[in-house]
């Protein structure tokens, strides 16, 4: 057992060597230029800040391995947060009911994406671009564009609560989800089927893989995760804001690609994605600590995404080269 766990760790390090190296360099540089960076307080803050992106990036990883993409998750975050808070504050719903409804709505958006993409064989990019607008629209229509404040601590505790007085609950959720998704992708038939469909859809179909079912399930899971992220985020911010979540889908995609998930499908790992999320999170945190303006932060983040795509392209280039050798 010990040896196997050991093996799993060495494989993980080998698979993600490049990105771990980059992350280490970033951390070393930041701990030199900022005395605050390497404090326990700050590191926990980093973890809390990245937790939101982890929710979305986990779903995005599954979708991208499948060969798809989901642009609607950011808007789903807005819808579920705005509606859940609104249901409590404006409609006086009990908190558990409002949360359930918020989750159901987000999940339905994902389910809808999956059905349209799988059933009508439409490109995921355009379908989810459309649902992104629809979801964003719903959030604005329901709220009239205003954010709703919520002070009920039973709700806000979901996002602000701390385990043992120091460990933020969102980080706990994140940890649990990561474990679930690692098992889901590596140890279940469902996970194998995702890789098979993304690697070769026709071979998967002829091997008896229920492609449509798997595809719909994956998009539904992404919707569910986005809804959870939206609720946790609104609780942490004490408000449901319809404008929140814009660009979140891009952060998730960037994290996946940084972590080695192929845009063409078939390849990718949860561990890689998590390191990708961490890089984006550490960069944002570092820039904040250094007092860099948010305008400059955008620019730097853009450059990171660009480098991520470059890395992905380099990997893709290795393939035809290998195929030549194998002939």
């Amino acid at each position: 057992m010990n040896i196997r766990a050991n093996n799993a760790f060495t494989t993980m390090f080998r698979n993600n060597a490049g990105i771990i190296f980059v992350l280490l360099i970033l951390c070393i540089v930041l701990s030199i230029v900022s005395p605050v960076f390497l404090t326990a307080d700050n590191l926990i803050t980093v973890l809390r800040q990245v937790s939101n992106n982890v929710f979305l990036a986990l779903g995005m990883t599954l979708i991208m391995i499948l060969g798809g993409i989901d642009l609607s998750v950011g808007a789903t975050v807005a819808v579920s947060g705005t509606l859940t808070v609104g249901f409590i504050v404006n409609n006086g719903m009990p908190i558990p009911v409002a949360i359930m409804l918020g989750i159901v709505i987000g999940t339905l958006i994902g389910f809808f994406n999956g059905v349209i993409i799988a059933q009508f064989k439409l490109p995921a990019f355009i379908v989810t671009l459309a649902t992104m607008n629809v979801a964003q629209g719903i959030a604005y229509i329901y709220s009239g564009g205003r954010s709703a404040r919520i002070t009920n601590s039973a709700y806000t505790q979901i996002g602000t609560g701390k385990l043992f007085g120091f460990f933020p609950l969102p980080v706990l959720y994140m940890t649990i989800l990561i474990i679930i998704f690692i098992i889901l992708l590596n140890k279940t038939r469902f996970g194998t089927n995702i890789y098979a469909i993304g690697g070769n859809r026709e071979a998967a179909r002829l091997s008896g893989v229920p492609s449509k079912k798997v595809e719909i399930t994956v998009y539904t899971i992404a919707g569910l995760l986005a809804a959870l992220a939206g609720i946790v985020l609104s609780a942490r911010m004490y408000s449901g804001q319809p404008s929140v979540g814009q660009g979140y889908e891009m952060d998730a995609i960037a994290a996946c690609v940084l972590g080695g998930v192929s845009m063409a499908g078939g390849r990718g790992r949860i561990s890689g994605t998590i390191f990708g999320v961490m890089i984006i999170g550490v960069v944002s945190n570092g820039l904040n600590l250094l007092g860099v303006s948010s305008f400059w932060q955008l620019l730097v983040k853009g450059l990171i995404i660009l480098s991520a795509v470059l890395i992905d392209a380099q990997k893709g280039r290795k393939l035809p080269f290998l195929m030549k050798i194998s002939k």
Binding site: I183, K187, T188, R189, T192, Y195, A196, G199, N200, E202, A203, A204, R205, L206, S207, G208, V209, P210, G266, R267, L319, L322, M323, K324, I325, S326, K327
Partner: protein
């Protein structure tokens, strides 16, 4: 005549650890059609890629017009007058014929704009010269495959080629279109172009070629004058051993019916197909490309729909909506296109072997048992002697023969009653072919019912207990063992 325009001496090429070519000799005279013959994987494509500047040879020299040629890349190959027509069409479908011919070297007016007039008039001239009836204003995408192929030839000629390579140009053409192509080749011959012709259809080689060079497993076997050889000789040269020892088949047909198909029809694809397969039987399906064989198999396997007819499995009528239902009922299919349909190439050998069978490898409802998975992978890697460094390496790094064994292993793991093999040895080297035949024979002996679709006539004649011949979607004959011969099958397949 009789000037050697091309000589290739002792060409060798290694990829990684495998010798793709080991000292190949080849020569071509002006106005000659010289066929290059060899099984898939024999090294024909590699040789052509070296001539075309895509690969560089490790050893050997290429002499063109008596001078040593240094072919570094595709451009320099073109400058030596070498033109290659690949199996796949490489034209831009949304551009006109004329634009395609001049793509990348469009003549311009003095203002720097594309000179449309000149492009069209020069293209038209070339088309007429070859006696073709194609409007150069048409978009390439609107032409038939055969016409597109002719456009490729026109394009090659427009580079002033002296050496034209044609890689299986007839594989997707109808008889009439083939004749048209041959007519064009005669025209080229008159213009003193030397043609290297690659085809598996021996009858075409006898009709068109002056000489035939055979290569096998990367080795040069020999060159014969076409008029002085026959198909038995050529097959023996290609296969390199007596056919008897190459195929293994011990008769094992039992009485019990496994699959019965009655009047199965799918409009415009196949029509009124009826046949039966028994336990322990190997039933062959022969016919030309496009005869509807693969489509029929896909239908039986639940992968595509049908309009009329009945399918019985073990005496019970079945209606499959998808492949997984067929798999559950004990049908397995090794598809025609190994890379496109059979394997998830970027994933591991083990991943592919267990893909269809994970249901049986579960630890509980949710999790796959790592132990059961490993056991199964090891069992099939050793049973089928799949040569792989580890079961966790990418399946794409295996040779064609071992990749095919992985596909077969995947299906054997589902413990099928009926195994459909669609072109089971396409792109498989000679050694692995023989191994696959003995595996198939063993399976039939163990009582599996097997359908084998194959375009390889010797294979189907030697392995099958009887053979159904299809033509244009109809089953035109079912030949018993004693009636099996290449001539007989071809007669039914072509309707001649």
């Amino acid at each position: 005549m009789a000037d050697k325009i091309l000589e290739m001496h002792h060409i060798s090429k290694t990829f990684g650890g495998t010798h793709a070519l080991k000292g190949i000799n080849f020569e071509l005279k002006a106005g000659e059609i010289h066929a290059l013959l060899g099984e898939n994987g024999a090294g024909k494509s590699t040789l052509i890629k070296i001539l075309g500047g895509i690969h560089k040879p490790d050893k050997g020299e290429i002499i063109i017009d008596g001078k040593i040629a240094d072919i570094d890349n595709v451009q320099s190959a073109q400058s030596y007058g070498i033109g290659i027509i690949h199996q796949e069409i490489v034209l831009v479908p949304y551009l006109s014929v004329a634009d395609n011919i001049f793509l990348g070297r469009e003549p311009v007016t003095k203002w720097g704009f594309k000179d449309k007039k000149q492009i069209y008039s020069r293209a038209q001239e070339m088309v007429v010269q070859l006696g073709l009836n194609i409007d150069v204003n048409t978009l390439v995408g609107e032409l038939t495959v055969a016409q597109q192929q002719l456009v490729e030839i026109v394009k090659a000629i427009s580079f002033n080629v002296k050496i034209l390579v044609m890689d299986e140009p007839t594989s997707s053409l109808s008889d009439e279109e083939v004749n048209h192509l041959f007519h064009t080749m005669e025209k080229l011959r008159e213009k003193n172009v030397g043609i290297i012709y690659i085809s598996h259809r021996l009858e075409e080689l006898f009709k068109m070629s002056d000489r035939i060079t055979v290569i096998r497993d990367g080795n040069y076997v020999g060159t014969k004058q076409t008029s002085e050889t026959n198909s038995e000789d050529l097959v023996a040269m290609m296969v390199g051993r007596e056919l008897e020892s190459f195929y293994t088949r011990t008769y094992s047909v039992q009485d019990q019916e496994v699959l019965k198909v009655e009047n199965l029809s799918c409009d415009n694809v196949f029509e009124d197909i009826s046949f039966t397969v028994h336990k322990g039987e190997i039933l062959g399906f022969s016919g030309l490309m496009g005869a509807g064989r693969s489509e029929l198999m896909q239908t039986i396997f639940g992968a595509s729909p049908y309009d009329r007819g009945r399918i019985y499995l073990n005496g019970e009528e079945v209606f499959f909506k998808n492949c997984s239902q067929a798999i559950e009922q004990g049908i397995a299919m090794v598809p025609e296109d190994r890379k496109g349909q059979g394997l998830v190439l970027e994933n591991s050998v083990g991943f592919n072997i267990t893909l269809s069978n994970l249901k049986r490898l579960m630890k509980n409802k949710l999790l796959v048992s790592e132990k059961k998975r490993k056991n199964q992978i090891n069992k099939y890697v050793s049973d089928l002697s799949i040569k792989t460094a580890s079961s966790e390496i990418e399946v794409s790094s295996l040779s064609g023969g071992n990749q095919q064994k992985v596909v077969i292993a995947k299906w054997l793991a589902t413990k099928p009653r009926l195994l459909i093999l669609d072109e089971p040895t396409r792109g498989v080297d000679v050694g692995a072919k023989s191994e696959i035949y003995s595996i198939i024979n063993q399976l039939a002996n163990d009582g599996m019912a097997i359908i084998m679709v194959s375009s390889d006539l010797p294979e189907i004649i030697n392995m099958c207990d009887s053979v159904c011949v299809m033509r244009n979607g109809k089953l035109v004959a079912q030949l018993s063992q004693s009636e099996l011969s290449q001539e007989n099958i071809m007669r039914y397949a072509t309707g001649g």
